[in-house]
């Protein structure tokens, strides 16, 4: 699988090497090769960080030396922070995100199909979706705390709301993009409504559903940190919040880096899943 993809990319690359017009050709930007620039840019940033610490260019209160952050990582990884190990802090944040995200998918995807496939459902739910969609989930934190307290259910509910509207709209848009010729063809080939939903409209909507999943995963991750900043007894967001109260900027920076790394890992995982599960993406004739 990976081999095939790489071979295809390389084949494209040999053709790309012969191209004369390069400015404005997006396929050249996406083409493999030129990784050296990525490493160079990361190395430059790291070097800048090391040098600024060594020569004391920045007050450590605003931005700590890389050594301090590394030291804190070792300390927290071995001793934990505030009655929980580092893995527990990361784990609880990931758990909240996954629960909220999954619940959001479980309700949002069927809701999206209902919006796309039934006029009555569309008329009923469209104003609700359109009303809640632009509302930032963070604005709901006070209400959710009032209703559900500061326990797990409150955070998961908040993340559920964050994922719900994105998934509903992505699914609706994907379902609506079905070429009517495919549906007609399926009807003349014995398919009933259920088969048309699951074998024609659902796979047709999958690429957009997947895009929705990636977007909502990002939003959920941002929301969980914010929710933990407000009120939590564990999680990376809580770690950042508590550390900032003690002016431990090194722990704050460590937390920020960990958040980015986990989010990046999740997104890479989803991109790999996308290539595997939806190879026909963008290939519709």
């Amino acid at each position: 699988m990976m081999k095939n993809i790489l071979r295809a990319l390389n084949a494209e690359n040999t053709e790309n090497q012969r191209k004369i017009v390069s400015f404005g050709d997006s396929s050249l930007v996406e083409a493999p090769g030129g990784r050296i620039w990525t490493f160079a840019s990361i190395a430059f940033l790291l070097l800048l960080w090391i040098l600024s610490g060594t020569f004391g260019w920045v007050n450590p209160l605003f931005w700590p030396p890389i050594g301090d952050v590394w030291h804190q990582l070792n300390v927290i990884a071995s001793e934990g922070y505030r009655n929980a190990t580092l893995l527990e802090h990361i784990g609880i944040s990931v758990y909240r995100v996954l629960m909220g995200f999954l619940l959001g998918c479980m309700v949002g995807i069927p809701l999206g199909f209902a919006l796309a496939l039934s006029k009555v459902m569309n008329r009923i739910f469209d104003p609700i979706v359109e009303f809640f969609r632009p509302m930032p989930p963070l604005a709901l934190i006070p209400l959710v705390i009032l209703w559900l307290g500061i326990g797990e259910s409150a955070k998961i509910f908040l993340l559920f709301l964050a994922a719900l509207w994105i998934m509903a709209l992505a699914t609706r848009s994907g379902a609506l993009s079905t070429n009517i010729a495919k549906v007609y063809a399926a009807y003349t080939l014995n398919a009933n409504k259920r088969q048309i939903l699951f074998r024609i409209i659902l796979p047709n909507a999958l690429p957009e559903i997947f895009t929705g999943m990636r977007v909502s995963m990002g939003v959920c991750w941002g929301t969980v940190v914010a929710a933990e900043l407000v009120a939590a007894e564990s999680g990376i967001g809580m770690m950042i919040m508590v550390a900032s109260k003690f002016l431990s900027t090194d722990i704050v920076v460590l937390g920020v880096i960990l958040i980015s790394l986990v989010a990046y890992a999740i997104d890479i995982f989803m991109r790999i899943m996308e290539v595997r599960l939806i190879p026909w993406r963008g290939k519709s004739s």
């Binding site: 003349t188 796979p203 519709s284 004739s285």
Partner: protein, 267 residues
């Protein structure tokens, strides 16, 4: 046998104007006949096909196929579209076997895959069963569409410009394939096209339709499809009788289109 009885179809435009897409269209098609339909855009040919397929309800009249009034889509009336109707998340094989697999009482798997292989061989796609459809060329994709339709064994095959998106050479080859399939299966076929040559070479019968209101302007009975089964179609297209009818039909459609343009300028 297909009987189209006094079909009319009136659309309402968003401005509440009424447009007569079809007016009092009647004809009968015997089993095994190959009918082609030509006409300028707006003559209602796709509307007619969609009514026969059961996708649209006419405002008046009815279509009756094998004694049953058309009230919705049916596996008895298969359809081949111009493009974009293949299921790109399925392999070639899964596309072709889709109809048999979706049947109320599906046949055993072995029988279905035997049937699939037979139709893939017939349309010249042996060995392509496992490929994803998006890796095939346009001509091959239309072969898949034909095989998928035939594998479901419909009594009537409706084709809405099935070769319209193909390049000229592929198109001629596919015309030959259509004649071969028609000859071998004895299916009743209605084919819509914009190409006058295609309509003449494929149709035993040809309707030239006219717009506003959509109606059958002239019907031809043609010998070329029969000849095309046995003989090289390039040769037939060069025959004097073929050329003569071709020019006549082109002239008819051109004058219709000029009339449409004139009306638009007045309006």
């Amino acid at each position: 046998m297909l009987e189209v009885k006094d079909l009319s179809m009136v659309y309402q435009t968003p401005k509440k104007e009424e447009v007569s897409a079809l007016l009092n269209v009647s004809f009968t098609l015997e089993k095994g006949e190959f009918l082609t339909i030509l006409g300028p855009s707006g003559c209602g040919k796709t509307t007619l096909l969609n009514i026969i397929a059961g996708f649209l309800q006419p405002t008046q009249g009815e279509a009756v196929f094998d004694g049953e009034s058309v009230s919705g889509p049916s596996p008895q009336r298969g359809m081949v579209f111009q493009q974009g109707a293949l299921f790109e998340w399925m392999s070639v094989e899964k596309n072709v076997s889709f109809g048999p697999r979706m049947a109320d009482r599906p046949k055993p798997d072995a029988e279905i895959s035997e049937n699939t292989r037979y139709w893939l061989d017939t349309v010249g796609l042996s060995g392509f069963g496992g490929k994803p459809v998006y890796e095939l060329s346009g001509g091959m994709q239309q072969r898949v569409a034909l095989a998928r339709c035939l594998a479901n064994d419909p009594g009537l095959i409706l084709m809405d410009e099935p070769l319209g998106a193909l390049d000229a050479l592929t198109r001629e080859k596919m015309q030959g394939l259509l004649l071969k399939l028609w000859n071998e299966t004895g299916k009743t076929i209605i084919l819509i096209t914009h190409s006058v040559e295609e309509a003449l070479i494929l149709g035993e019968r040809l309707f030239v339709m006219a717009p506003r209101p959509g109606r059958i302007e002239k019907e031809y009975r043609l010998p070329f499809a029969e000849q095309g089964v046995a003989d090289d179609s390039r040769k037939i297209k060069a025959q004097s009788d073929f050329v003569q009818i071709r020019e006549e039909v082109i002239g008819m459609i051109w004058s219709m289109e000029e009339e449409i343009m004139g009306r638009q300028e007045e309006g």
